[in-house]
Amino acid sequence: MMLDPPQKGDEIGNEYALELKGVSKQFGALNALSDINIRIKPGERRAVLGSNGAGKTTLFNCITGDFPPSAGKVLFFGEDVTEFPAHERIRRGLRRTYQISLLFNGLSVHDNVYLACRGVSRGRFSLRRPHPGDALVQAADGLIAIANLENVRDVMVSDLSYGQQRQLEIALALAGAPRLVLLDEPAAGLSPSERKELISILNRLPEHMGYVIIEHDMDVALRVADRVTMMHNGRIFKEGTPQEIENDPEVQALYLGGGHE
Protein backbone atom coordinates (compact mmCIF):
# COMPACT_ATOMS: atom_id res chain seq x y z
CA MET A 1 0.00 0.00 0.00
CA MET A 2 2.90 2.39 0.70
CA LEU A 3 3.78 3.59 -2.74
CA ASP A 4 6.33 6.29 -2.54
CA PRO A 5 9.73 6.52 -1.02
CA PRO A 6 10.04 9.07 1.79
CA GLN A 7 9.01 12.44 0.44
CA LYS A 8 10.35 15.96 0.63
CA GLY A 9 11.04 17.26 4.09
CA ASP A 10 11.40 13.78 5.57
CA GLU A 11 14.44 14.58 7.69
CA ILE A 12 15.19 11.83 10.15
CA GLY A 13 15.18 12.89 13.75
CA ASN A 14 12.57 15.64 13.56
CA GLU A 15 11.13 15.88 17.04
CA TYR A 16 7.66 16.89 15.90
CA ALA A 17 5.56 15.74 12.99
CA LEU A 18 3.43 18.85 13.27
CA GLU A 19 4.12 22.03 15.15
CA LEU A 20 1.84 25.06 15.24
CA LYS A 21 3.37 28.27 16.58
CA GLY A 22 0.94 31.00 17.50
CA VAL A 23 -1.50 30.21 14.71
CA SER A 24 -4.46 32.61 14.49
CA LYS A 25 -7.21 32.96 11.97
CA GLN A 26 -9.58 35.88 11.62
CA PHE A 27 -12.67 36.05 9.43
CA GLY A 28 -13.39 39.77 9.51
CA ALA A 29 -14.04 40.62 13.14
CA LEU A 30 -14.39 36.96 14.17
CA ASN A 31 -11.37 35.31 15.75
CA ALA A 32 -11.86 31.72 14.66
CA LEU A 33 -8.45 30.73 16.05
CA SER A 34 -6.37 32.60 18.61
CA ASP A 35 -2.72 31.85 19.31
CA ILE A 36 -2.83 28.10 18.81
CA ASN A 37 0.30 26.22 19.85
CA ILE A 38 0.32 22.48 19.28
CA ARG A 39 3.12 19.94 19.01
CA ILE A 40 2.45 16.45 17.71
CA LYS A 41 5.15 13.79 17.68
CA PRO A 42 5.65 11.37 14.77
CA GLY A 43 3.26 8.45 15.10
CA GLU A 44 1.22 10.20 17.79
CA ARG A 45 -2.57 9.88 17.73
CA ARG A 46 -4.21 13.07 18.88
CA ALA A 47 -7.88 13.84 19.36
CA VAL A 48 -9.16 17.41 19.11
CA LEU A 49 -12.40 17.92 20.99
CA GLY A 50 -14.63 20.91 21.37
CA SER A 51 -18.14 22.15 20.89
CA ASN A 52 -19.50 23.43 17.58
CA GLY A 53 -17.75 26.65 16.58
CA ALA A 54 -14.70 25.89 18.71
CA GLY A 55 -12.47 26.23 15.63
CA LYS A 56 -11.54 22.58 15.08
CA THR A 57 -12.17 22.41 11.33
CA THR A 58 -10.66 25.88 10.84
CA LEU A 59 -7.57 24.53 12.56
CA PHE A 60 -7.46 21.66 10.05
CA ASN A 61 -7.96 24.06 7.18
CA CYS A 62 -5.01 26.15 8.35
CA ILE A 63 -2.84 23.06 8.72
CA THR A 64 -3.65 21.71 5.25
CA GLY A 65 -3.47 25.07 3.50
CA ASP A 66 -7.15 25.32 2.59
CA PHE A 67 -7.01 28.69 4.37
CA PRO A 68 -3.80 30.56 5.09
CA PRO A 69 -3.51 31.45 8.78
CA SER A 70 -3.73 35.15 9.64
CA ALA A 71 -0.71 34.80 11.91
CA GLY A 72 1.66 32.13 13.16
CA LYS A 73 3.59 29.28 11.60
CA VAL A 74 2.84 25.71 10.57
CA LEU A 75 5.82 23.34 10.65
CA PHE A 76 5.55 19.85 9.16
CA PHE A 77 8.43 17.59 10.18
CA GLY A 78 10.49 20.67 10.89
CA GLU A 79 9.76 22.34 7.54
CA ASP A 80 7.89 25.62 7.53
CA VAL A 81 4.93 24.96 5.23
CA THR A 82 2.90 28.03 6.21
CA GLU A 83 3.11 29.54 2.73
CA PHE A 84 2.81 26.26 0.85
CA PRO A 85 -0.29 25.53 -1.24
CA ALA A 86 -2.42 22.57 -0.17
CA HIS A 87 -1.10 20.14 -2.78
CA GLU A 88 2.52 20.75 -1.75
CA ARG A 89 1.69 19.86 1.85
CA ILE A 90 -0.12 16.73 0.67
CA ARG A 91 2.91 15.66 -1.34
CA ARG A 92 5.01 15.96 1.83
CA GLY A 93 2.91 13.32 3.56
CA LEU A 94 0.05 15.30 5.11
CA ARG A 95 -3.45 13.98 4.43
CA ARG A 96 -6.96 14.86 5.49
CA THR A 97 -10.55 13.76 5.39
CA TYR A 98 -13.50 16.12 5.31
CA GLN A 99 -16.39 16.52 7.70
CA ILE A 100 -18.80 16.25 4.76
CA SER A 101 -17.63 13.55 2.37
CA LEU A 102 -16.04 15.11 -0.72
CA LEU A 103 -16.01 12.14 -3.06
CA PHE A 104 -16.53 11.71 -6.79
CA ASN A 105 -19.97 10.17 -6.96
CA GLY A 106 -19.81 9.28 -10.66
CA LEU A 107 -16.73 7.12 -10.16
CA SER A 108 -16.41 3.65 -8.65
CA VAL A 109 -14.82 3.10 -5.27
CA HIS A 110 -11.69 1.80 -6.97
CA ASP A 111 -11.40 4.77 -9.32
CA ASN A 112 -11.75 7.19 -6.40
CA VAL A 113 -8.90 5.49 -4.55
CA TYR A 114 -6.89 5.22 -7.78
CA LEU A 115 -7.16 9.00 -8.27
CA ALA A 116 -5.99 9.51 -4.70
CA CYS A 117 -2.99 7.22 -5.28
CA ARG A 118 -2.10 9.01 -8.52
CA GLY A 119 -2.33 12.40 -6.82
CA VAL A 120 0.62 11.58 -4.58
CA SER A 121 2.68 9.77 -7.18
CA ARG A 122 4.41 10.72 -10.41
CA GLY A 123 2.53 10.83 -13.68
CA ARG A 124 -0.29 13.08 -12.56
CA PHE A 125 -0.58 14.30 -16.16
CA SER A 126 -0.51 10.83 -17.68
CA LEU A 127 -2.61 10.15 -20.75
CA ARG A 128 -2.14 6.39 -20.46
CA ARG A 129 -5.08 4.43 -19.19
CA PRO A 130 -4.27 2.20 -16.21
CA HIS A 131 -4.13 -1.61 -16.31
CA PRO A 132 -4.82 -4.07 -13.50
CA GLY A 133 -1.11 -4.86 -13.21
CA ASP A 134 -0.08 -1.25 -12.60
CA ALA A 135 1.44 -0.46 -9.23
CA LEU A 136 -1.09 2.30 -8.58
CA VAL A 137 -4.04 0.01 -9.35
CA GLN A 138 -2.69 -2.58 -6.93
CA ALA A 139 -2.01 0.10 -4.33
CA ALA A 140 -5.62 1.21 -4.65
CA ASP A 141 -6.74 -2.40 -4.08
CA GLY A 142 -4.59 -2.54 -0.95
CA LEU A 143 -6.22 0.59 0.46
CA ILE A 144 -9.66 -0.74 -0.36
CA ALA A 145 -8.83 -3.84 1.68
CA ILE A 146 -7.64 -1.73 4.61
CA ALA A 147 -10.91 0.22 4.54
CA ASN A 148 -12.93 -3.04 4.34
CA LEU A 149 -14.52 -2.03 1.05
CA GLU A 150 -13.53 -5.05 -1.09
CA ASN A 151 -17.12 -6.12 -1.57
CA VAL A 152 -18.04 -2.71 -3.05
CA ARG A 153 -14.81 -2.20 -5.02
CA ASP A 154 -16.56 -1.59 -8.34
CA VAL A 155 -19.70 0.06 -7.00
CA MET A 156 -20.40 3.71 -7.81
CA VAL A 157 -19.80 5.97 -4.83
CA SER A 158 -23.31 7.35 -5.16
CA ASP A 159 -24.62 3.83 -4.40
CA LEU A 160 -22.61 3.42 -1.18
CA SER A 161 -24.09 3.71 2.29
CA TYR A 162 -23.07 6.75 4.32
CA GLY A 163 -20.83 4.62 6.52
CA GLN A 164 -19.07 3.17 3.50
CA GLN A 165 -18.53 6.66 2.12
CA ARG A 166 -16.84 7.64 5.39
CA GLN A 167 -14.62 4.56 5.15
CA LEU A 168 -13.78 5.51 1.57
CA GLU A 169 -12.80 9.01 2.76
CA ILE A 170 -10.28 7.35 5.07
CA ALA A 171 -8.99 5.14 2.24
CA LEU A 172 -8.36 8.26 0.12
CA ALA A 173 -6.45 9.87 2.98
CA LEU A 174 -4.20 6.81 3.31
CA ALA A 175 -3.03 6.89 -0.33
CA GLY A 176 0.70 7.18 -0.93
CA ALA A 177 2.90 7.36 2.11
CA PRO A 178 1.04 9.50 4.63
CA ARG A 179 2.97 10.59 7.68
CA LEU A 180 0.17 12.43 9.41
CA VAL A 181 -3.54 12.17 8.68
CA LEU A 182 -6.13 14.71 9.78
CA LEU A 183 -9.52 13.05 10.29
CA ASP A 184 -12.41 15.50 10.47
CA GLU A 185 -15.27 13.86 12.38
CA PRO A 186 -14.99 10.49 10.64
CA ALA A 187 -17.62 8.98 12.95
CA ALA A 188 -20.25 11.67 12.44
CA GLY A 189 -23.57 10.16 11.39
CA LEU A 190 -22.38 6.56 11.71
CA SER A 191 -24.43 3.81 13.35
CA PRO A 192 -22.96 2.09 16.44
CA SER A 193 -21.79 -0.89 14.37
CA GLU A 194 -20.20 1.42 11.78
CA ARG A 195 -18.42 3.31 14.58
CA LYS A 196 -17.05 0.02 15.82
CA GLU A 197 -15.78 -0.70 12.32
CA LEU A 198 -14.18 2.75 12.14
CA ILE A 199 -12.42 2.32 15.46
CA SER A 200 -11.11 -1.03 14.27
CA ILE A 201 -9.78 0.52 11.05
CA LEU A 202 -8.04 3.34 12.94
CA ASN A 203 -6.51 0.96 15.47
CA ARG A 204 -5.17 -1.23 12.66
CA LEU A 205 -3.20 1.60 11.01
CA PRO A 206 0.60 1.20 11.08
CA GLU A 207 2.16 2.51 14.28
CA HIS A 208 4.40 5.03 12.53
CA MET A 209 1.37 6.73 10.97
CA GLY A 210 0.14 9.48 13.24
CA TYR A 211 -3.23 11.11 13.02
CA VAL A 212 -5.23 13.96 14.46
CA ILE A 213 -8.91 13.25 14.83
CA ILE A 214 -11.72 15.71 15.41
CA GLU A 215 -14.52 13.90 17.14
CA HIS A 216 -17.61 14.86 19.11
CA ASP A 217 -18.12 11.36 20.40
CA MET A 218 -15.92 11.14 23.50
CA ASP A 219 -16.16 7.34 23.47
CA VAL A 220 -14.62 7.15 20.00
CA ALA A 221 -12.06 9.89 20.61
CA LEU A 222 -10.79 8.49 23.87
CA ARG A 223 -10.44 4.99 22.44
CA VAL A 224 -8.31 5.93 19.44
CA ALA A 225 -6.13 8.77 20.80
CA ASP A 226 -2.92 8.91 22.85
CA ARG A 227 -3.49 12.53 23.80
CA VAL A 228 -6.42 14.90 23.70
CA THR A 229 -6.58 18.64 22.97
CA MET A 230 -9.72 20.48 24.06
CA MET A 231 -10.71 23.62 22.18
CA HIS A 232 -13.19 26.31 23.08
CA ASN A 233 -13.95 29.60 21.30
CA GLY A 234 -10.91 29.29 19.03
CA ARG A 235 -8.46 28.63 21.86
CA ILE A 236 -6.86 25.58 23.40
CA PHE A 237 -7.95 25.30 26.99
CA LYS A 238 -6.91 21.82 28.00
CA GLU A 239 -4.45 19.17 26.85
CA GLY A 240 -3.66 15.77 28.37
CA THR A 241 -4.09 12.04 28.21
CA PRO A 242 -7.58 10.66 27.59
CA GLN A 243 -7.90 9.77 31.29
CA GLU A 244 -6.85 13.25 32.44
CA ILE A 245 -9.31 14.86 30.08
CA GLU A 246 -12.11 12.47 31.01
CA ASN A 247 -11.68 13.19 34.70
CA ASP A 248 -11.17 16.93 34.37
CA PRO A 249 -13.99 18.84 36.10
CA GLU A 250 -13.81 21.77 33.66
CA VAL A 251 -14.15 19.43 30.69
CA GLN A 252 -17.02 17.67 32.40
CA ALA A 253 -18.72 20.97 33.04
CA LEU A 254 -18.26 22.03 29.44
CA TYR A 255 -19.46 18.79 27.97
CA LEU A 256 -22.20 18.14 30.53
CA GLY A 257 -23.72 21.56 30.11
CA GLY A 258 -22.08 23.63 32.84
CA GLY A 259 -20.37 25.97 30.36
CA HIS A 260 -16.83 27.27 30.45
CA GLU A 261 -15.85 30.73 31.61
Binding site: T58, R95, L102
Partner: protein, 377 residues
Protein backbone atom coordinates in the same frame (compact mmCIF):
# COMPACT_ATOMS: atom_id res chain seq x y z
CA UNK B 1 -17.88 13.83 -11.34
CA UNK B 2 -18.13 12.23 -14.72
CA UNK B 3 -18.91 8.65 -15.35
CA UNK B 4 -15.68 6.69 -15.37
CA UNK B 5 -14.41 4.94 -18.45
CA UNK B 6 -11.05 4.09 -16.98
CA UNK B 7 -12.09 0.50 -16.38
CA UNK B 8 -9.29 -0.25 -13.96
CA UNK B 9 -11.53 -2.91 -12.54
CA UNK B 10 -12.16 -5.81 -14.80
CA UNK B 11 -9.82 -5.71 -17.74
CA UNK B 12 -6.77 -7.85 -18.28
CA UNK B 13 -3.57 -6.49 -19.78
CA UNK B 14 -4.10 -6.88 -23.52
CA UNK B 15 -1.43 -6.59 -26.18
CA UNK B 16 -1.28 -3.50 -28.35
CA UNK B 17 -3.41 -4.85 -31.22
CA UNK B 18 -6.03 -6.24 -28.87
CA UNK B 19 -6.21 -2.88 -27.10
CA UNK B 20 -6.62 -1.12 -30.42
CA UNK B 21 -9.35 -3.60 -31.32
CA UNK B 22 -10.99 -2.94 -27.97
CA UNK B 23 -10.89 0.81 -28.57
CA UNK B 24 -12.43 0.39 -32.03
CA UNK B 25 -15.18 -1.83 -30.62
CA UNK B 26 -16.01 0.91 -28.10
CA UNK B 27 -17.00 3.24 -30.95
CA UNK B 28 -20.81 3.21 -31.11
CA UNK B 29 -22.59 2.14 -34.28
CA UNK B 30 -24.03 5.60 -34.87
CA UNK B 31 -20.51 7.04 -35.03
CA UNK B 32 -19.62 4.54 -37.77
CA UNK B 33 -22.80 5.46 -39.64
CA UNK B 34 -22.08 9.20 -39.39
CA UNK B 35 -18.46 8.57 -40.38
CA UNK B 36 -19.40 6.67 -43.55
CA UNK B 37 -22.00 9.30 -44.40
CA UNK B 38 -19.42 12.08 -44.09
CA UNK B 39 -16.95 10.16 -46.24
CA UNK B 40 -19.58 9.84 -48.95
CA UNK B 41 -20.83 13.46 -48.81
CA UNK B 42 -18.65 14.64 -51.77
CA UNK B 43 -20.23 11.97 -53.98
CA UNK B 44 -23.65 13.61 -53.89
CA UNK B 45 -22.95 17.28 -53.09
CA UNK B 46 -21.42 20.14 -55.00
CA UNK B 47 -18.37 22.21 -54.23
CA UNK B 48 -20.37 24.89 -52.43
CA UNK B 49 -21.78 22.47 -49.86
CA UNK B 50 -18.45 20.69 -49.41
CA UNK B 51 -16.45 23.89 -48.99
CA UNK B 52 -18.78 26.55 -47.63
CA UNK B 53 -21.02 24.37 -45.48
CA UNK B 54 -19.17 21.27 -44.29
CA UNK B 55 -15.61 22.55 -44.63
CA UNK B 56 -16.39 25.73 -42.74
CA UNK B 57 -18.42 23.82 -40.14
CA UNK B 58 -15.53 21.40 -39.49
CA UNK B 59 -13.10 24.29 -39.04
CA UNK B 60 -15.36 26.30 -36.73
CA UNK B 61 -16.30 23.05 -34.95
CA UNK B 62 -12.64 22.32 -34.27
CA UNK B 63 -12.15 25.75 -32.71
CA UNK B 64 -15.39 25.36 -30.73
CA UNK B 65 -14.18 21.89 -29.67
CA UNK B 66 -11.22 23.55 -27.98
CA UNK B 67 -13.69 25.69 -26.01
CA UNK B 68 -15.83 22.65 -25.27
CA UNK B 69 -12.78 20.83 -23.82
CA UNK B 70 -12.06 23.73 -21.49
CA UNK B 71 -15.68 24.46 -20.61
CA UNK B 72 -17.14 20.97 -20.53
CA UNK B 73 -14.31 19.05 -18.88
CA UNK B 74 -12.52 21.86 -17.08
CA UNK B 75 -15.36 24.21 -16.15
CA UNK B 76 -13.47 27.14 -17.74
CA UNK B 77 -15.37 29.18 -20.32
CA UNK B 78 -12.67 30.85 -22.40
CA UNK B 79 -13.50 33.48 -25.00
CA UNK B 80 -9.96 33.51 -26.31
CA UNK B 81 -10.18 30.40 -28.50
CA UNK B 82 -10.86 32.27 -31.75
CA UNK B 83 -7.95 34.55 -30.88
CA UNK B 84 -5.71 31.50 -30.42
CA UNK B 85 -6.85 30.32 -33.85
CA UNK B 86 -6.02 33.76 -35.24
CA UNK B 87 -2.55 33.69 -33.65
CA UNK B 88 -1.91 30.38 -35.43
CA UNK B 89 -3.38 31.79 -38.65
CA UNK B 90 -1.18 34.89 -38.48
CA UNK B 91 1.84 32.69 -37.70
CA UNK B 92 1.29 30.62 -40.83
CA UNK B 93 1.20 33.83 -42.84
CA UNK B 94 4.20 35.38 -41.09
CA UNK B 95 6.50 32.34 -41.01
CA UNK B 96 5.31 30.89 -44.33
CA UNK B 97 4.37 32.61 -47.56
CA UNK B 98 1.70 35.19 -48.33
CA UNK B 99 0.97 38.10 -50.65
CA UNK B 100 2.81 40.39 -48.22
CA UNK B 101 6.33 39.29 -49.04
CA UNK B 102 7.90 42.16 -47.03
CA UNK B 103 6.72 40.54 -43.79
CA UNK B 104 6.31 36.84 -44.58
CA UNK B 105 9.51 34.91 -43.98
CA UNK B 106 8.89 32.27 -46.63
CA UNK B 107 9.87 29.29 -44.47
CA UNK B 108 8.85 25.80 -45.70
CA UNK B 109 5.16 25.10 -45.10
CA UNK B 110 5.76 22.31 -42.58
CA UNK B 111 7.98 24.56 -40.45
CA UNK B 112 5.42 27.35 -40.68
CA UNK B 113 2.65 24.96 -39.62
CA UNK B 114 4.63 23.67 -36.64
CA UNK B 115 5.53 27.22 -35.64
CA UNK B 116 1.86 28.22 -35.95
CA UNK B 117 0.75 25.40 -33.63
CA UNK B 118 3.53 26.26 -31.18
CA UNK B 119 2.71 29.98 -31.20
CA UNK B 120 -1.03 29.37 -30.81
CA UNK B 121 -0.48 26.91 -27.99
CA UNK B 122 1.94 29.24 -26.19
CA UNK B 123 -0.54 32.09 -26.48
CA UNK B 124 -3.28 29.85 -25.08
CA UNK B 125 -1.05 28.70 -22.21
CA UNK B 126 -0.13 32.30 -21.37
CA UNK B 127 -3.81 33.24 -21.36
CA UNK B 128 -4.58 30.21 -19.21
CA UNK B 129 -1.86 31.13 -16.74
CA UNK B 130 -3.60 34.47 -16.24
CA UNK B 131 -7.13 33.10 -16.20
CA UNK B 132 -6.90 29.92 -14.10
CA UNK B 133 -6.90 31.76 -10.81
CA UNK B 134 -10.37 33.07 -11.57
CA UNK B 135 -13.69 31.34 -12.01
CA UNK B 136 -16.99 31.90 -13.79
CA UNK B 137 -17.69 35.39 -15.05
CA UNK B 138 -14.17 36.57 -14.20
CA UNK B 139 -12.60 33.95 -16.49
CA UNK B 140 -14.93 35.09 -19.25
CA UNK B 141 -14.02 38.75 -18.66
CA UNK B 142 -10.25 38.14 -18.60
CA UNK B 143 -10.30 36.05 -21.77
CA UNK B 144 -12.57 38.57 -23.50
CA UNK B 145 -10.20 41.37 -22.51
CA UNK B 146 -7.24 39.45 -23.98
CA UNK B 147 -9.20 38.75 -27.17
CA UNK B 148 -10.10 42.46 -27.50
CA UNK B 149 -6.51 43.51 -26.84
CA UNK B 150 -5.25 41.16 -29.55
CA UNK B 151 -7.82 42.46 -32.03
CA UNK B 152 -6.88 46.10 -31.48
CA UNK B 153 -3.18 45.31 -31.40
CA UNK B 154 -3.23 43.52 -34.76
CA UNK B 155 -5.27 46.34 -36.26
CA UNK B 156 -2.75 48.96 -35.18
CA UNK B 157 0.48 47.02 -35.68
CA UNK B 158 1.87 47.20 -39.23
CA UNK B 159 5.35 45.84 -38.55
CA UNK B 160 4.32 42.28 -37.79
CA UNK B 161 0.58 41.97 -38.41
CA UNK B 162 0.28 44.38 -41.36
CA UNK B 163 -2.43 46.35 -39.60
CA UNK B 164 -5.97 46.60 -40.92
CA UNK B 165 -5.14 44.84 -44.20
CA UNK B 166 -3.61 41.71 -42.73
CA UNK B 167 -2.28 39.03 -45.07
CA UNK B 168 -3.74 37.75 -48.30
CA UNK B 169 -2.82 34.78 -50.51
CA UNK B 170 -2.12 32.54 -47.55
CA UNK B 171 -2.71 29.24 -49.32
CA UNK B 172 -2.30 25.60 -48.36
CA UNK B 173 0.79 23.94 -49.88
CA UNK B 174 0.25 21.66 -52.89
CA UNK B 175 1.30 18.49 -51.05
CA UNK B 176 1.16 15.34 -53.27
CA UNK B 177 0.34 17.70 -56.12
CA UNK B 178 -3.17 18.30 -54.73
CA UNK B 179 -4.74 21.73 -54.54
CA UNK B 180 -5.98 21.48 -50.95
CA UNK B 181 -8.09 24.59 -51.36
CA UNK B 182 -10.24 22.91 -53.98
CA UNK B 183 -13.63 21.94 -52.47
CA UNK B 184 -13.26 18.16 -52.24
CA UNK B 185 -9.62 18.05 -50.99
CA UNK B 186 -10.38 20.77 -48.46
CA UNK B 187 -13.48 18.88 -47.36
CA UNK B 188 -11.44 15.75 -46.61
CA UNK B 189 -8.59 17.74 -45.05
CA UNK B 190 -10.94 19.53 -42.65
CA UNK B 191 -12.91 16.30 -42.00
CA UNK B 192 -9.69 14.49 -41.11
CA UNK B 193 -8.57 17.25 -38.72
CA UNK B 194 -12.02 17.50 -37.14
CA UNK B 195 -12.27 13.72 -36.64
CA UNK B 196 -8.73 13.57 -35.24
CA UNK B 197 -9.56 16.41 -32.83
CA UNK B 198 -12.83 14.76 -31.80
CA UNK B 199 -11.24 11.39 -31.04
CA UNK B 200 -8.27 13.06 -29.33
CA UNK B 201 -10.65 14.88 -27.00
CA UNK B 202 -12.54 11.65 -26.30
CA UNK B 203 -9.32 9.80 -25.53
CA UNK B 204 -7.85 12.53 -23.33
CA UNK B 205 -11.12 12.98 -21.44
CA UNK B 206 -11.04 9.30 -20.44
CA UNK B 207 -7.36 9.21 -19.53
CA UNK B 208 -6.19 9.81 -15.95
CA UNK B 209 -5.41 13.42 -16.91
CA UNK B 210 -8.94 13.88 -18.23
CA UNK B 211 -10.45 12.40 -15.10
CA UNK B 212 -8.32 14.65 -12.94
CA UNK B 213 -9.46 17.64 -15.00
CA UNK B 214 -13.09 16.70 -14.43
CA UNK B 215 -12.31 16.26 -10.74
CA UNK B 216 -10.79 19.75 -10.72
CA UNK B 217 -13.96 21.06 -12.38
CA UNK B 218 -16.27 19.39 -9.87
CA UNK B 219 -14.28 19.82 -6.71
CA UNK B 220 -10.98 21.70 -6.89
CA UNK B 221 -10.57 21.73 -3.13
CA UNK B 222 -10.80 17.95 -2.93
CA UNK B 223 -8.36 17.51 -5.78
CA UNK B 224 -5.83 19.78 -4.04
CA UNK B 225 -6.30 17.65 -0.92
CA UNK B 226 -5.38 14.60 -3.00
CA UNK B 227 -2.08 16.22 -4.04
CA UNK B 228 -3.05 17.64 -7.43
CA UNK B 229 -1.99 21.11 -8.45
CA UNK B 230 -5.32 22.50 -9.61
CA UNK B 231 -3.78 25.41 -11.53
CA UNK B 232 -1.20 23.23 -13.28
CA UNK B 233 -3.91 20.90 -14.55
CA UNK B 234 -6.00 23.82 -15.73
CA UNK B 235 -3.03 25.31 -17.60
CA UNK B 236 -2.29 21.90 -19.18
CA UNK B 237 -5.91 21.84 -20.35
CA UNK B 238 -5.39 25.26 -21.95
CA UNK B 239 -2.32 23.86 -23.73
CA UNK B 240 -4.29 20.95 -25.20
CA UNK B 241 -7.15 23.22 -26.22
CA UNK B 242 -4.56 25.58 -27.75
CA UNK B 243 -3.34 22.82 -30.06
CA UNK B 244 -6.91 22.15 -31.24
CA UNK B 245 -7.68 25.84 -31.78
CA UNK B 246 -4.37 26.37 -33.59
CA UNK B 247 -5.09 23.57 -36.07
CA UNK B 248 -8.53 25.12 -36.58
CA UNK B 249 -6.89 28.51 -37.13
CA UNK B 250 -4.50 27.18 -39.77
CA UNK B 251 -7.40 25.55 -41.64
CA UNK B 252 -9.40 28.77 -41.30
CA UNK B 253 -6.70 30.91 -42.88
CA UNK B 254 -6.15 28.35 -45.66
CA UNK B 255 -9.88 28.22 -46.26
CA UNK B 256 -10.24 32.00 -46.50
CA UNK B 257 -6.89 32.50 -48.18
CA UNK B 258 -6.33 35.54 -46.00
CA UNK B 259 -6.29 36.71 -42.41
CA UNK B 260 -6.94 40.15 -40.97
CA UNK B 261 -7.89 41.60 -37.57
CA UNK B 262 -11.54 40.96 -38.40
CA UNK B 263 -10.90 37.21 -38.11
CA UNK B 264 -10.46 37.66 -34.36
CA UNK B 265 -12.76 40.62 -33.74
CA UNK B 266 -15.30 40.49 -30.93
CA UNK B 267 -18.02 39.07 -33.22
CA UNK B 268 -16.19 35.87 -34.23
CA UNK B 269 -14.89 35.48 -30.67
CA UNK B 270 -18.45 35.43 -29.34
CA UNK B 271 -19.61 33.25 -32.25
CA UNK B 272 -17.39 30.39 -31.03
CA UNK B 273 -19.15 30.49 -27.67
CA UNK B 274 -22.52 30.59 -29.43
CA UNK B 275 -21.54 27.55 -31.53
CA UNK B 276 -20.42 25.56 -28.48
CA UNK B 277 -23.56 26.44 -26.53
CA UNK B 278 -25.93 25.72 -29.44
CA UNK B 279 -24.44 22.26 -29.90
CA UNK B 280 -24.00 21.47 -26.21
CA UNK B 281 -20.87 22.52 -24.35
CA UNK B 282 -20.65 19.28 -22.37
CA UNK B 283 -20.14 16.98 -25.35
CA UNK B 284 -17.39 16.99 -27.99
CA UNK B 285 -19.85 16.25 -30.79
CA UNK B 286 -21.86 19.31 -29.72
CA UNK B 287 -19.15 21.61 -31.07
CA UNK B 288 -19.60 20.23 -34.59
CA UNK B 289 -23.39 20.12 -34.42
CA UNK B 290 -23.39 23.73 -33.23
CA UNK B 291 -20.98 24.73 -35.98
CA UNK B 292 -23.13 23.10 -38.67
CA UNK B 293 -26.27 24.83 -37.39
CA UNK B 294 -24.42 28.15 -37.19
CA UNK B 295 -23.02 27.82 -40.73
CA UNK B 296 -26.43 26.84 -42.13
CA UNK B 297 -28.07 29.80 -40.41
CA UNK B 298 -25.39 32.19 -41.62
CA UNK B 299 -25.45 30.86 -45.15
CA UNK B 300 -29.16 30.58 -45.75
CA UNK B 301 -30.70 33.16 -43.39
CA UNK B 302 -29.81 35.92 -45.85
CA UNK B 303 -31.89 34.27 -48.60
CA UNK B 304 -34.65 33.56 -46.11
CA UNK B 305 -34.82 37.18 -44.93
CA UNK B 306 -34.79 38.54 -48.48
CA UNK B 307 -37.62 36.15 -49.39
CA UNK B 308 -39.60 37.83 -46.60
CA UNK B 309 -38.69 41.27 -47.99
CA UNK B 310 -36.49 41.95 -44.98
CA UNK B 311 -32.96 43.29 -45.11
CA UNK B 312 -30.48 40.47 -45.69
CA UNK B 313 -27.95 42.30 -43.51
CA UNK B 314 -29.95 41.27 -40.49
CA UNK B 315 -28.94 37.62 -40.77
CA UNK B 316 -27.43 37.78 -37.28
CA UNK B 317 -30.92 38.39 -35.97
CA UNK B 318 -31.86 34.91 -37.14
CA UNK B 319 -28.68 33.43 -35.68
CA UNK B 320 -29.49 35.09 -32.36
CA UNK B 321 -33.09 33.94 -32.52
CA UNK B 322 -32.00 30.37 -33.20
CA UNK B 323 -29.59 30.60 -30.30
CA UNK B 324 -32.32 31.92 -28.02
CA UNK B 325 -34.79 29.20 -28.97
CA UNK B 326 -32.30 26.36 -28.52
CA UNK B 327 -30.94 27.63 -25.23
CA UNK B 328 -34.46 28.36 -23.93
CA UNK B 329 -35.67 24.83 -24.64
CA UNK B 330 -32.42 23.09 -23.77
CA UNK B 331 -29.66 24.80 -21.77
CA UNK B 332 -27.46 21.89 -22.81
CA UNK B 333 -27.90 22.67 -26.49
CA UNK B 334 -29.02 20.35 -29.25
CA UNK B 335 -27.25 17.41 -27.61
CA UNK B 336 -29.32 18.11 -24.51
CA UNK B 337 -32.50 17.94 -26.58
CA UNK B 338 -31.43 14.54 -27.88
CA UNK B 339 -30.63 13.41 -24.34
CA UNK B 340 -34.03 14.53 -23.15
CA UNK B 341 -36.24 13.23 -25.95
CA UNK B 342 -34.05 10.55 -27.57
CA UNK B 343 -34.69 7.82 -24.97
CA UNK B 344 -38.46 8.42 -25.22
CA UNK B 345 -38.31 7.68 -28.93
CA UNK B 346 -36.63 4.32 -28.37
CA UNK B 347 -38.47 1.07 -27.64
CA UNK B 348 -38.73 0.40 -23.92
CA UNK B 349 -36.37 -2.59 -24.10
CA UNK B 350 -33.59 -0.52 -25.67
CA UNK B 351 -33.65 2.24 -23.06
CA UNK B 352 -30.89 2.63 -20.56
CA UNK B 353 -27.40 4.05 -20.46
CA UNK B 354 -26.05 4.54 -23.92
CA UNK B 355 -22.57 3.30 -24.72
CA UNK B 356 -20.10 6.00 -25.66
CA UNK B 357 -22.05 8.77 -24.03
CA UNK B 358 -19.78 11.67 -23.33
CA UNK B 359 -19.04 12.35 -19.72
CA UNK B 360 -20.89 15.28 -18.20
CA UNK B 361 -20.98 16.84 -14.82
CA UNK B 362 -23.21 15.68 -12.03
CA UNK B 363 -26.70 17.07 -12.17
CA UNK B 364 -27.10 20.04 -9.91
CA UNK B 365 -23.39 20.51 -9.38
CA UNK B 366 -21.96 23.75 -10.71
CA UNK B 367 -18.34 23.88 -11.75
CA UNK B 368 -16.09 24.97 -8.94
CA UNK B 369 -18.83 24.76 -6.35
CA UNK B 370 -18.54 22.48 -3.39
CA UNK B 371 -21.16 20.98 -1.18
CA UNK B 372 -22.06 23.30 1.62
CA UNK B 373 -21.25 22.63 5.19
CA UNK B 374 -17.69 21.47 4.81
CA UNK B 375 -16.29 24.34 6.77
CA UNK B 376 -18.26 24.64 9.90
CA UNK B 377 -15.66 24.72 12.56
Amino acid sequence: MAQSDMNTSDTTRPDRSARLGGLIRQIPTRVWVVGFFLLLVPSFTGGFVQYQIFGWAFVLGLIALSLMFLGGYGGMVSLVQMTVAAVAGYSVAIFGTSGVSEISMGWPWYVAVIMAIVMGTLFCVATGALAVRTEGIYTIMITLAIASAFFYFTRQNYTVFNGFTGFNRVLPPPVFGIDWRAPTPFYYLSLFCAAAGYFAVLYVSRSPFGLVLQGVRDNPRRMAALGYSVNAHRIAAYAFSGVLASIGGILLVWSNGQISPGTASIGPVIDILVIAVIGGINRPIGAFIGALVYVLLRTYSLDFLEALNLSGERFKLLVGLGFLIIVYWSPDGICGLWERFGPKLKPRSARGREPGREPGREPGREPGREPEGGNDA
